[in-house]
Amino acid sequence: MTDQTTSITIPIHLTINGRDHSLNVEPRVTLLDALRDRLDLTGTKKGCDHGQCGACTVHVDGERVLACLTLAAQVEGREITTIEGLAGADGTLDAVQAAFLEQDAFQCGYCTPGQIMSAVACIREGHAGSDDEIREYMAGNLCRCGAYPNIVAAVRQAALEVAS
């Protein structure tokens, strides 16, 4: 019992969206809570905290990862990209972001950062070849507002743009 509640902090260094951050946190702090509660990077959302919804999807070394199932300490020295780091430095939207806006691929917007991070990876993985493939490879990101058909349309559009 007692070691569960002792608060020992460790220094960690994270590279997020190309910037270095140093923080002292307990080893049990997840990447998700580090982003949201310690670094004011609240674009990454918490929907379940148990790897069930995809709202917390970020990229670690370019691959999609659930930040709620990743300890902050695990990703030291790796390249982390969050939704805040997706657009260009001049504010130019990523093709996926622009397609989400144009296709109205969200309503409340809470699942959206996770959807977009998943979609960018889905296209990069080569899994956006058909609507059915997109549906399958985007199935880990729940959207209770039910934006799915528009998400498929946005991913399809962005995949074509990325390919061209």
Partner: protein, 771 residues
């Protein structure tokens, strides 16, 4: 600031490729103005504010369904690292009773958000506040609770549940339904069940509470800022004006985020006790028990008809579950009594108390389960008399409201049936069950109708024309994804005469002009009306100045009126100056023009206003005056059922909907699709499963409570068949958000019958019910 104030700076690129100027007018397909903030992660939702000195609270919930808390041992939790406060029923500060959402005064002098007497599993009994979230979570696990447990009634099917309490106000009768049924040549009777369903918004419930002296600020996702602010004010005995609720974006509500709840009181109390801001976010499992989802329902629908399928009588009996210590009535006859013409009708409803959290509003409460009963029953009648399921609906078409005996304001349901059938290819349907297949997939085509009443209330807004020529709108209404930011920008843009890009809409702060609840699909109609009024009066002032102020370049023209369009002001015949709004304001030495508009009846007192915005007591009946006002829809759905495994997939949906005039079709279509998708979940997946020994919801998480995923959803086509309905709202719209879910589950059940010949009357339609 916490309000939404991001202009379209970095979206022009995306929009300019496909947009066009008319998109910004009312009825245009403008992309969401809050979209850029949401797709870049810049949108800060309510409890994402970062405050100095923020402490973190975690709730501890009961693990029994009925009984009393004998003792709570908090010693280990209190000494755990970082812990600031452990709250139990004995240690939490006194909180006063608050009036309910109708404005009825409290029945108890004090309110205890932490329970001593447990009436459902998951009820809050203690809370831990610590320096960090991780410390609070760990310490909460150290709180030891002992109980004296008593037997629980776990759900409607519990042998102890009984028949429940009759709710007499729900009784609806005309003609002699029993006699007409007995005399009818064709008689059908069946029972239809829906299960506990959950809103499961992706953003969990939670809040940050901060006290500064006697002033309380609450950052909390809210469908009703003014109503919730009233509750906090009453709980803590401070004036209403001392409470500020901030809710700039809401990560989905679906009916669940309109009330301040027990955990809200705990957060605000602990912030006061500690003198520090406190953040409390419910875990996903706690989101299944801290507020109610849709009550489980049971209905029997009895139809007596002629051999031609013309209905002569409907007898309807309904039951919904409610809590041991709270009342929820899910109005189960709301569609039954109006969808079809019938000379004889009878409906009665009971509620049954079980050990659950009080059920609550989930998308189209009442209409949704009601339609499942009547829209399946009429399908059964169609097969009984050998008439096409679409034809039988037209044969029994209600030319006026059968219950209120009033004309419909507008009812484009015939048009919806026609447009949907055409697009779906209904005429190619082979009538016999099990007669369409593709390999070992049985194919079924089903149809069902839906409806939702037009709920009306009042709202206020401020519209400002600013020195730089831009327009600002403020209202304490909210946007949880319906598109409020966008349609209010369009309304102000069109009314004042500026591009939508030049309008900034600020919502979600209770310090702004007031608004009632965003529920029952009423917000768009109410708020476009208020913004239209405010914008009209701002424009009148502006034009008045331009005509009459001696410093105005138009002064010499002696015109009666001037035209404002695209941000510029000109004389109607184009024979005078042509200046921008900013230039005109500068010439007359004004830095702004401001007007408040509201849709309240003239001469409303301050008290009327307070009551209107903080309770739902003043909403206007949909059958007020000469008309009955509703939105309507028809769903055509194809399912594929695997003959061996019984798995059901929805493979095609075409829905035609009448929501009156659409303020922004792009966003309305999205909401419709969202409702249809939630309906697919209800039909095939969603069901709160109760552990019969402990009365617990065992699938209280997003892996086990199945909501539709992207892979479950086919292409969905939605068709608008609405026409402007000026009896329903100032600009002619009817409700959008709740409508589309109504009728989806019966359309799927009907399609499954057509595919398999098996009538499943118990949702969800899972494979074991088909094999």
């Amino acid at each position: 600031m916490t309000v939404h104030n991001i202009r379209h700076a970095n979206t022009r690129h995306a929009d300019s490729r496909h947009g066009d100027a008319s998109d910004g007018a009312v009825g245009g397909r403008l992309s969401r103005v809050d979209g850029p903030a949401k797709i870049t992660g810049a949108a800060k939702y309510a409890f994402e504010q970062q405050l100095d000195g923020l402490a973190h609270a975690v709730m501890v919930e009961a693990t029994i369904a009925a009984g009393t808390v004998r003792a709570i041992d908090t010693r280990a939790a209190e000494t755990a690292p970082g812990v600031l406060l452990v709250l139990t029923p004995d240690t939490i500060m006194e909180i006063k009773g608050a009036s309910d959402w109708l404005g009825n005064p409290p029945t108890q002098k004090t309110y205890s958000p932490l329970a001593r007497t447990v009436t459902y599993s998951g009820q809050h009994i203690a809370a831990v506040v610590a320096e960090t979230f991780e410390q609070a979570v760990a310490a909460a696990a150290l709180v030891e609770v002992s109980y004296d447990e008593t037997p629980a009634i776990v759900d409607l099917s519990d042998a102890k549940a009984g028949d429940g309490i009759p709710i007499d106000v729900m009784t609806k009768e005309w003609g002699d339904a029993e006699a007409a049924f007995a005399a009818a040549p064709v008689r059908i009777c069946a029972a239809y069940n829906t299960q506990r369903e959950y809103q499961a918004a992706m953003e969990p419930h939670g809040l940050i509470a901060r006290w500064q002296g006697e002033e309380l600020t609450i950052w909390e996702p809210s469908q009703w800022l003014d109503g919730m602010a009233r509750t906090y004010a009453e709980w803590f005995g401070v004036p209403f004006e001392n409470v500020r609720l901030v809710s700039p974006y809401i990560g989905g509500g679906f009916g669940s985020k309109a009330l301040a709840l027990a955990h809200s009181a705990v957060a605000a109390a602990s912030a006061k006790m500690l003198g520090r801001p406190v953040k409390l976010v419910l875990t996903r499992p706690q989101n299944f028990t801290s507020y109610g989802g849709r009550a489980a329902t049971r209905q029997t629908v009895t139809i007596g008809a002629g051999r031609d399928g013309k209905i002569q009588s409907i007898v309807h009996r309904g039951v919904n579950e409610t809590a041991v210590d709270g009342m929820w009535v899910e109005p189960l006859a709301s569609v039954t009594s109006i969808m079809y013409a019938t000379p004889n009708f009878s409906s009665k409803q009971n509620v049954v108390r079980v050990n659950t959290v009080v059920p609550g509003a989930k998308r189209a409460p009442g209409e949704n389960p009601s339609a499942f009963g009547i829209e399946c029953a009429i399908d059964e009648l169609a097969y009984e008399v050998g008439v096409d399921p679409l034809e039988i609906r037209l044969r029994n078409y209600a030319e006026q409201d059968p219950e209120a005996k009033k004309a419909w304001s507008t009812r484009q349901l015939r048009e919806a049936f026609a447009a949907g059938a055409e697009r779906f290819g209904w005429s190619k349907r082979s009538p016999k069950p099990r007669s369409m297949r593709d390999g070992h997939q049985l194919i079924g085509w089903g149809v069902a109708a839906g409806t939702y009443p037009v709920r009306r209330a009042y709202g206020e807004a401020i519209v400002r024309i600013l020195a730089d020529g831009s327009v600002e709108v403020e209202s304490s209404s909210i946007d949880m994804g319906q598109g409020t930011y966008t349609i209010l920008a369009q309304t102000a843009a069109e009314t004042v005469g500026v591009p939508a890009d030049d309008v900034v809409v600020k919502l979600g702060d209770s310090r702004f002009p007031r608004a009632g609840v965003a529920g029952g699909s009423r917000l768009a109609g109410v708020m476009t009306g208020a913004v239209y009024k405010a914008a009209t009066s701002a424009l009148d002032q502006f034009v008045g100045l331009a005509i009459s102020d001696p410093r105005s370049p138009f002064h010499a023209l002696q015109a009666n009126t001037l035209v404002v369009a695209n941000g510029r002001i000109t004389a109607p015949r184009g024979d005078g100056p042509d200046v921008s709004i900013a230039e005109l304001l500068a010439s007359v030495g004004r830095d702004r023009i401001e007007a408040t508009g509201d849709t309240m009846p003239a001469n409303s007192s301050a008290e009327d206003r307070y009551k209107n915005y903080t309770t739902i007591a003043t909403s206007v009946p949909h059958t007020e005056g000469d008309y009955s006002r509703h939105s309507w829809c028809a769903h055509f759905i194809e399912v594929r059922v695997d003959e061996d495994f019984g798995t059901v997939r929805v493979s095609r949906v075409v829905s035609a909907l009448d929501s009156g005039r659409l303020y922004n079709p792009k966003l309305a279509e999205s909401q419709w699709k969202g409702g249809i998708i939630m309906g697919i979940g209800q039909a095939l997946l969603e069901e709160g499963i109760v552990d019969r020994r402990h009365g617990r919801i065992v699938n209280n998480n997003l892996a086990d409570y199945l909501v539709p995923t992207n892979a479950d959803i086919p292409d969905i086509e939605v068709i608008s068949v609405g026409i402007p309905d000026l009896h329903s709202s100032v600009l002619g719209g009817k409700g959008v958000g709740e409508l589309a879910i109504v009728g989806v589950a019966p359309a799927i059940a009907n399609a499954v019958f057509h595919a398999t010949g098996k009538r499943v009357r118990d949702l969800p339609i899972t494979l074991e019910k088909l094999i």
